[in-house]
């Protein structure tokens, strides 16, 4: 895929993981676990997992398997967690049901529209389905009355984006200084950086 070529980092020489020894041990433990390896999904079936991976790739516009695996692991843990979902619009099913049925209905749309499973579609076909989901413009089928398209899209989007921007490789790319305890940030004013922070090209 050509996905990575249209997004260019300002900080090609920056790797936030080189700073990990400066972090407090609890933070370090949490962040390094995102590098894997990950246990097999407990909630999602094998088929659901591969469909979900394809959905995730479209949402984050990235196909690096190590990052996608972390996101799927995060989603899988969330589905089985006893922690609540903060808010849920009245009439929408709980998130584990919403996501599971959502995966299945997206695949059904792919099969009816292109006669292929969602994972077998070309990138642009997958993208068409996901972007129609955002706008609530997928073909009218009975399931949407229970799983409203926009709410499904929004659930996928927010959980996936939260996990993606929690991956240290993505932090490196965007030049995020990241965890800074115990040392803190000393040079915070406009134009100043601490010596260990990301430096842009040619600076």
């Amino acid at each position: 895929m050509s996905w990575d070529e249209s997004v260019i980092t300002h900080y090609p020489n920056y790797n936030i993981l080189n700073l990990a020894d400066e972090w407090d041990s609890y933070t370090k433990e949490i962040v390094l676990k995102r590098l894997g390896p990950f246990s097999a999904p407990e909630y999602f079936s094998e088929w659901e997992t591969s469909t979900l991976k394809a959905i995730v790739k479209n949402i984050v516009f990235d196909n690096r398997d190590n990052i996608i695996d972390w996101i799927v692991f995060h989603l899988d843990s969330k589905m089985t967690s006893e922690i609540g979902e903060n808010q849920r619009k009245i009439g929408i099913p709980p998130e584990d049901v919403l996501v599971r049925e959502g995966i299945s209905v997206i695949d059904r749309i792919a099969r009816s529209k292109f006669a292929k499973s969602f994972t077998d579609l070309e990138e642009d076909e997958q993208f068409k389905i996901i972007s129609s989901l955002q706008l609530g413009q997928l073909p009218p089928i009975r399931e949407w009355s229970r799983i409203p398209q926009k709410d499904l899209f929004s659930k996928f989007l927010l959980e996936i984006v939260a996990a993606y921007y929690s991956h240290p490789e993505v932090w490196s790319e965007i030049g995020y200084g990241g965890p800074a305890y115990p040392r803190g940030y000393v040079r915070t004013e406009y134009g100043l950086t601490d010596p260990w922070e990301a430096r842009g090209d040619g600076k």
Partner: protein, 559 residues
């Protein structure tokens, strides 16, 4: 995550003891003077003041007793657990995002993850009806709270400017203003200056110099993820340890499920709570609900009895009504050079130039601007909420370091239909989940439009290119509003319920209007005033007794 915290599993805390069971309670078998539900900004302060005055106090908190050193991490995703994550059902035209935006779970409540921006309300906030002909006046005015604003600011050593440009309090603050400020705060102030808008360094409940064994801020930037160095005030590290020294017992991981009443329903006798699947009771002469805008109405409605069939303290029918968030839209602009939103205390500069009503703007009331830093998850989720994803989100986030942000804290007018009610769905305790309904009014939307346009002007004047507006809300207030008239309010000006004299509600729930500024200082000033009131009543031997409330609260409402 692996749990390495030796304190987290303890649920019973009092001077000399931290226990992981409820078998050695300090006050388990006796009727205490005061039982407080919720150990947040209000509940913890009340516990400290009342304990210091010699009362027997138990605080019951649903969440854990955090240990910052072992429970907090410099990480946005994992620290979402500081919020009240229990599912609330939401509806209305503008359903509210619950959790991190407005509530906390665990000892310290929302103060554990608040931004620390510490504003007083202005005089006009207490008389919106009189001045603007909308909403309702408070039964108190600025001067009633002034001594308590002073007291709270001094107790926790608020840092801020020597001269504050707006409202009745013009500084100085107890501790000097923060220096240096972040690049995001700098460009905000430059933009303001170019347009003739006054701005200042933010007043903050964050130390600028050592105090009470705590160090000044190190600009780590994770105020919303729990402060690791303890430079930011939270009730967890300030009031709660002091309350424990004064004899208060704190129960954590204990969910209050019912307020108990005597057979006639004329008074409350205590509360029922659940720990580890078992039911317990705490008897008390006075019960104070400080469990926030959603859980307080939910608990009152779930505590209905035959004599209080529509819920406790609800003869007015207004329990759960008139809830208000702040409109909290985020305006992002892209700059030529790096801003690095992640660095330093999130809010270091503010403006209240648009706080008061200006009829020429076409709406009443106003707002505060906070120059507001961000870490990547918050920014990316905000953009996602605004409909940006895929390639565009990835490209925008590659320029993460080049964005600046201003956040609106806009007043939202109270509307009766914006409410907390009970839904059909049950939670793990078998209690109906809260249904939170919210829609902006016309005035709210006009105010937002003005704030968005003005923030973009500021960003542009600073050299930025306005790029994204992310609709959001922050804070939550109202639902058990105070007032003089029992027919149009739930509690009196001392937070005592009109219906049941020994039942108090003390939190942002009692707000009559939302103001256009971060609310925590006002919550704490109200709690401090309520503490004085209860101490006076105790000294007169009238604690929790039914009698006429003296003074202005019994004055007839005249309009």
């Amino acid at each position: 995550m692996e749990n390495k915290d030796f304190i987290k599993h303890n649920c019973d805390h009092y001077e000399g003891s931290r226990l992981n069971h409820l078998n050695n309670r300090k006050y388990g078998d006796i009727e205490v003077d005061v039982c407080i539900v919720g150990a947040g900004a209000a509940g913890s302060l009340l516990a400290y003041e009342l304990g210091k005055a010699g009362m027997k106090v138990v605080v019951i908190e649903a969440g854990p007793f955090w240990n910052p050193q072992t429970d907090f991490a410099s990480d946005e995703l994992s620290m979402k657990n500081l919020a009240w994550n229990d599912t609330r059902l939401v509806s209305g035209k503008d359903p509210i995002s619950m959790g991190h935006n407005n509530s906390g779970r665990g000892v310290g409540g929302g103060t554990v993850h608040f931004t620390g921006v510490f504003f007083r309300f202005h005089e006009s906030d207490f008389k919106v009806r009189t001045l603007d002909g909308v909403a309702e006046d408070w039964p108190i005015n600025y001067n009633d709270l002034k001594p308590y604003y002073d007291k709270v600011e001094n107790q926790i050593k608020v840092s801020g400017p020597r001269e504050f440009p707006w409202g009745p309090f013009r500084g100085p603050y107890p501790y000097p203003e923060r220096e240096p400020i972040s690049a995001n705060a700098e460009v905000f102030r430059e933009g303001c200056e170019a347009l003739g808008i006054k701005s200042t360094v933010a007043p903050l409940a964050i130390l600028s110099a050592p105090f009470d064994g705590r160090p000044p801020c190190i600009n780590r930037g994770f105020c919303n993820q729990g402060c690791l160095p303890n430079a930011k005030f939270s009730a967890l590290i300030h009031y709660v340890p002091k309350a424990i020294k004064h004899g208060v017992e704190i129960l954590s991981d204990c969910m209050v499920t019912r307020v108990l009443t005597n057979p006639t329903g004329g008074s409350v006798t205590g509360v029922e709570f659940v720990h580890d699947g078992r039911n317990y009771r705490q008897m008390a002469k006075v019960v104070i609900l400080s469990n926030f805008v959603v859980e307080t109405p939910r608990l009152l409605l779930n505590s209905a009895t035959s004599s209080h069939s529509q819920g406790l303290a609800n003869s007015s029918g207004l329990v759960g009504k008139y809830i208000m968030p702040h409109s909290g839209h985020d305006m992002y602009a892209k700059f030529q050079n790096e801003i690095r939103l992640y660095k330093g205390t999130p809010v270091l500069a503010v403006s209240q130039d648009f706080y008061e009503t200006d009829r020429t703007r076409g709406f009443v009331r106003g707002y505060t601007f906070n120059a507001h830093g961000s870490r990547p998850v918050e920014m990316a989720m905000g953009l996602a909420n605004a409909g940006i994803w895929g390639k565009q989100l990835r490209q925008v986030m590659m320029d993460f370091n080049f964005y600046a942000r201003i956040t609106l804290v806009g007043e939202v007018l109270p509307i009766v239909n914006n409410s907390v009610t009970l839904s059909e769905e049950k939670d793990e305790y078998g209690l109906p989940r809260a249904l939170v309904t919210f829609s902006y009014s016309d005035n709210d939307n006009k105010l937002i439009a003005h704030g968005v346009a003005k923030a973009n002007e500021i960003l542009k004047a600073a050299g930025g290119e306005p790029a994204f507006v992310v609709p959001d809300t922050a804070h939550l207030m109202g639902g058990c509003r105070m007032g003089n008239d029992p027919q149009t309010s739930v509690v009196n000006s001392f937070c005592q319920s009109h219906d049941i004299p020994n039942l108090y509600i003390c939190s942002a729930s009692v707000f009559v209007t939302s103001g256009g500024a971060n609310p925590t200082e006002t919550v704490m000033a109200i709690a401090s005033r309520t503490a004085d009131h209860l101490i006076n009543r105790m000294n007169k031997g009238r604690l929790g007794k039914s009698d006429e409330v003296k003074g202005r609260t019994m004055e007839k409402v005249t309009r």
